[in-house]
């Protein structure tokens, strides 16, 4: 039996931080995609992802497994290698999109003209070190990060309250259904946290859907609040900004702390670190399961350096980064994750026997 390393609350905080990552670069493309349309879509996508997690977790438990990696090995080494490689692909894309998204924001909005390559490479190295430190350290860091986010949003709301114009918020009617559906599927496809959670369940004390659901419900709540705040304060100005949440915080001022966009920056860096480190940790686990003789430190170094080189290459030109983003913002990661999970469950049920779970270390 693998030792449980993470408490339920830090695990939920980890999921929370991973989920709010994309909120910080939320951008409604136009009035028909903003406000209540976004809120409805993200709420629905969050609830569906909880449902999916419940179904997948139920299937895992039916197979008698405490985590997804355990299922991979029930049909033999070849099948296990195939699954691990597929998981590695999803995790690689998610980790890269995390770091490159963070780097893109920093070098576009905050420090225009700063080197995107060095920013992405440095961020990836730091995330790799976080992964090497272990998932317990990363998940314990997620708790204060979540608290800073919540406190920061409260302070920002106080600072921007005088700009609130309720007239800018309208309820999406029937004519907004195509946009809501589009946003719903985009939000659902961005969700690789179900896979992340199922990879880490054997490390979580009292793991179950409730842990995932708490993280998702918490992130959804703040998605709703943040989008509402951006809608009623910036109004149509939000549609012409690349990072409207950042713009809102730049406009929020309190006499003591003046501009509050520093909060966005601080939270963003911390959240990107937590998310990147979590995905890299799972990547190290995949590599070690593919090559059982590899030491943890060597696997971590290999993954860290490899991903840093990849980030450096992709950030060398905007075209390469955009190609990855366009691929990763589609259905590919989500469908691949779902396919891996279902395939391994079916294979495990077909195998019909329990095997010793592998040590993840």
């Amino acid at each position: 039996m693998t030792k449980n390393h993470i408490g339920a609350l830090p695990a939920s905080a980890l999921i929370f931080c991973c989920r709010i990552f994309y909120l910080l670069t939320y951008s409604p493309r136009g009035p028909e995609y903003g406000g209540s349309a976004s809120m409805t879509a993200f709420l629905a996508a969050g609830l569906v992802s909880i449902g999916l997690c419940a179904v997948f977790w139920g299937l895992l438990r039916r197979c008698g497994a405490s985590g997804l990696p355990e299922l991979f090995h029930r049909q033999g080494r070849v099948f296990a290698a195939f699954c691990e490689l597929a998981v590695l692909l999803v995790l690689t894309g998610s980790a890269l999109s995390t770091v490159m998204n963070a780097s893109g924001f920093l070098t576009s909005a905050v420090y225009p003209g700063a080197g995107a390559q060095i920013t992405a490479a440095a961020a990836m190295l730091v995330c790799a070190y976080g992964a090497y430190s272990g998932i317990e350290a990363v998940s314990r860091m997620a708790l204060p990060v979540a608290a800073v986010f919540v406190a920061g949003l409260a302070v920002a709301a106080a600072g921007i309250a005088r700009e609130i114009q309720p007239a800018y918020f309208t309820f999406a009617g029937a004519e907004a259904v195509p946009q809501v559906l589009e946003l719903f599927f985009q939000a659902l496809y961005h969700n690789t946290e179900v896979l992340l959670f199922l990879l880490l369940t054997d490390k979580v004390r009292g793991a179950g859907t409730a842990v995932y659901a708490r993280g998702v419900l918490g992130s959804m709540t703040f998605y709703q609040l943040s989008i509402l705040l951006v809608t009623v304060t910036l109004g149509p100005f939000a549609y012409v900004r690349s990072y409207p949440i950042y713009s809102m915080l730049a406009a929020a001022e309190l006499s003591v702390v003046t501009r509050l966009d520093i909060i966005n920056l601080l939270v963003w860096i911390l959240v990107a670190f937590v998310r990147g480190a979590a995905y890299l940790y799972c990547m190290v686990g995949c590599v070690r399961r593919l090559a059982p003789g590899l030491r943890r430190s060597h696997a971590a170094a290999g993954v860290g350096l490899g991903m840093t080189a990849l980030a450096w290459y992709l950030c060398g030109s905007l075209d390469r980064g955009l190609e990855l983003w366009e691929l990763w913002s589609g259905a590919a990661p989500f469908l691949l994750s779902a396919a891996i999970i279902l395939l391994s469950v079916l294979a495990a049920l077909a195998a019909g026997k329990k095997v010793k779970s592998c040590e993840n270390g």
Binding site: A109, V110, Y111, P112, A114, I118, A122, E163, I164, Q165, A167, Y168, T170, F171, L234, G235, P236, F237, Y239, V240, S247, A250, A251, E253, R259
Partner: protein, 359 residues
């Protein structure tokens, strides 16, 4: 040994990645206090009032002015940088003044340029002037800080809007495509005159009187306390009125805009003698105050409707509450046909020390 290696690596990263390499010493930065933008004969003129720690003869203590002309704003800023050899820092800018031609004819370009600078706060005050912005900023008696404070006081007194880059851009992007800006003009006695104006696009601007602007300001939900002088029983009743709650919705009938406003009123002085402050008197004063506020609301709204300037989100409100009325009509037609139904509730909360009661 391993610990020392890690510490050295951490130290090296801290030194190399802190971003100090591109730092500009403060004495090589121009701390811009105010920006003035004029548009004349197909050219921009940008005037910057900058903080100067060293006094120079003939200039305001602590201020310097520099300007440059060019075909676009970036060229003007570049010209100033080349002339002075210093980097501009707009993070401390207290206000931006646009001349009327720059604001009305080059709105998109000016606003886009101001927004593109990430140092310039979205909350930076943005004002209009009928004359030249350069003239205002070059005046040694009007440093940026004083200009900014004067306009803020005028806005708090309800004489002009508290316009910032954010409020102007947000308003321009709204359905009304207009914006309200504070107008600042140099006064004869060396001070400034503040009023409100609405930007109408290439056709220019329309001015609102302070009374009209005060009526309009109620729609913004601003909770500033305003001084009101009411004619009452042959005397003057000096009051403070503070909006508490406001709500703009669609009215019961098509084309009606309903506005509910609740204010708190404190009576300071009555110059017509003494009053018996019983419930009947208070009710009578309340009725007079309600009438005065309603009149200003209606005058302000009428002024906006005459100018065709929706700066109060009336169009968004009608789209939300009366979409059938808006369907098939242009924004101009909708706004021009709106009828305002104000409902004003005055709550007299206190009598000031000067409100004498009869025995």
């Amino acid at each position: 040994m391993r610990k020392w290696l890690i510490l050295m690596a951490a130290g090296a990263l801290s030194v190399l990645l802190t971003g100090c390499m591109g730092a500009v010493p403060i004495d090589q930065r121009m701390l811009v206090q105010a920006v003035g933008i004029d548009w004349q004969e197909g050219q921009y003129q940008v005037t910057l009032q900058i903080f100067s720690p060293a006094r120079k003869e003939g200039e305001s203590a602590g201020q310097e002015v520099c300007s440059a002309a060019g075909e676009d704003l970036a060229e003007c800023m570049r010209g100033i940088r080349l002339e002075t050899g210093q980097e501009l820092f707009l993070g401390n800018c207290r206000l931006v003044i646009l001349s009327e031609p720059a604001a009305s004819e080059r709105t998109a370009e000016v606003v886009d340029y101001l927004l593109s600078d990430h140092e310039l706060r979205p909350g930076t005050p943005l004002y209009l002037t009928e004359g030249e912005a350069a003239e205002l900023l070059e005046s040694p008696e009007l440093p940026a800080e004083q200009l900014s404070e004067m306009m803020r006081s005028a806005a708090e007194a309800g004489l002009c809007p508290d316009s910032t880059l954010l409020t102007v851009v947000r308003s321009l992007e709204s359905l009304g495509s207009t914006a309200a800006l504070g107008r600042i003009e140099a006064g004869e006695a060396g001070g400034v005159q503040a009023s409100g104006a609405v930007l109408l696009g290439p056709v220019g601007t329309a001015e609102l009187t302070p009374e009209q602007w005060r009526g309009v300001s109620y729609f913004s939900g601003d909770s500033r306390q305003l001084e009101y002088t009411l004619d009452y029983k042959g005397g003057k009743l000096y009051t403070n009125i503070a909006p508490v709650q406001s709500r703009l919705t669609g009215g019961e009938n098509p084309g009606e805009l309903a506005f509910y406003l609740s204010v708190e009123c404190t009576i300071q002085e009555y110059s017509g003698g003494t009053l018996n402050w019983d419930s009947a008197e208070v009710a009578s004063v309340r009725a007079v105050a309600e009438q005065a506020v309603r009149r200003e609301l209606e005058q302000g709204f009428a002024a906006l409707r005459t100018a065709g300037a929706d700066v109060i989100c009336a169009l968004e409100t009608m789209e939300k509450f009366q979409p059938d009325f808006c369907r098939g009509r242009t924004p101009e037609a909708i706004f021009g046909s709106l009828v305002l139904r104000p409902e004003v509730q005055v709550n007299i909360t206190a009598l000031g020390a000067g409100a004498q009661a009869s025995a």
